[in-house]
Point group: C2
Chain length 175, copies 2
DNA sequence: CGCGATCTATATCGAACCAATATAGACAGG
DNA sequence: CCTGTCTATATTGGTTCGATATAGATCGCG
């Protein structure tokens, strides 16, 4: 499941520029389970074009860079479905926050509290984003959004219920 | 939060070889929020050694490659705590499964069911691993393991409760 | 008893990927 | 007016992954 495949998938839902693909990751519920940077999206789209899996039309804009709008081709659609039918690689979750919490006893109490506040805040805003997203167009979208909500709610409950235990044990002073 | 910092953190809990560090990711609850491959662990340890943040002692073994046992130094400990006090980068969750589920309508029903079975199976075994891990030595460890359990339980509940809705809408035949 | 599989343990290489930066005009708010 | 944010492309350096190589130990199974 590399960036090329992910771009293909997004393009099955409608044409888009590289910039718009990146925005989709950040705004619509996508970002909760896939991400990619410009540094991988643009080369991926170029290569997909070379391989004939997507087509481009350049829309010249006045006094702005040209928009390169990508569309998936019939061949691209086939390749994408083929990729879906192959075994998927496993989830990868990387959480600097949880790793840091393992070392709460090495940090001053206030810093642990501040980390918890920040993390809880981020999680709440991600949950809020998932809540406002009503337009579940396909069943798959509704399923994935529902799963995301469930997980964030459970996580926030746990964080609020157990943070005090962790804060008690933090170091009194570091340095 | 790069691999070098993660290795330092693990070494605060005791000496280890590169191989053992990798094992910790896979076995003990670590893998649910951090991971690293040999391709990044070994170079990281070499560089940490050069910088004087860890020390090595080579334990020659009969008819096996030498074990290189790494220990964190006082300087390494300082650097690690300093890293904890800097702002953390955000979580990154990459789930090929959830991405694929967005396209359930493009896949044959049996394939969607099989994907769900596989994912649920993996999640159950990860949860089982978190359940058997009783030795919460520090409060941080107990906190993080508790959080992991909560999230997996919520996720599995959702998956089992809603998978039928998704399976109904899958395509009758692909290709 | 032997054969394949798995385990310990190191290490490297190419490919993939990210974060930061560069460019550049539009537009909005203070 | 000026700073910041937005649209939009693209590159570069550094990080990380996945696969592979090596090599003897040990274990299960027939």
């Amino acid at each position: 499941m590399d960036v090329r495949t992910i771009c293909l998938g997004i393009l099955t839902r409608g044409d888009a520029t590289g910039y718009e693909i990146k925005k989709l990751f950040e705004e619509d519920g996508y970002r909760h389970f896939v991400e990619a940077s410009f540094g991988s999206i643009y080369p991926a789209l170029s290569r997909l074009t070379e391989e004939g899996l997507v087509s481009v039309r350049e829309e010249a804009q006045e006094k702005r860079p040209d928009r390169k709008v990508y569309s998936i081709t019939a061949k691209g659609r086939e390749v994408f479905i083929g990729a879906l039918l192959k075994p998927l690689s496993e989830d990868r979750h990387r959480s600097p926050f949880m790793f840091a919490m393992l070392f709460a006893h090495l940090m001053p109490k206030e810093h642990v509290s501040q980390m918890l506040d920040t993390y809880i805040g981020h999680s709440e805003s991600k949950l809020a984003q998932l809540m406002k997203n009503k337009h579940g167009e396909t069943q798959g979208e509704r399923f994935v959004i529902g799963l995301g909500r469930t997980v964030y709610v459970a996580m926030l409950n746990f964080l609020n219920a157990h943070r005090a235990e962790l804060e008690e044990r933090a170091a009194e002073a570091a340095e």
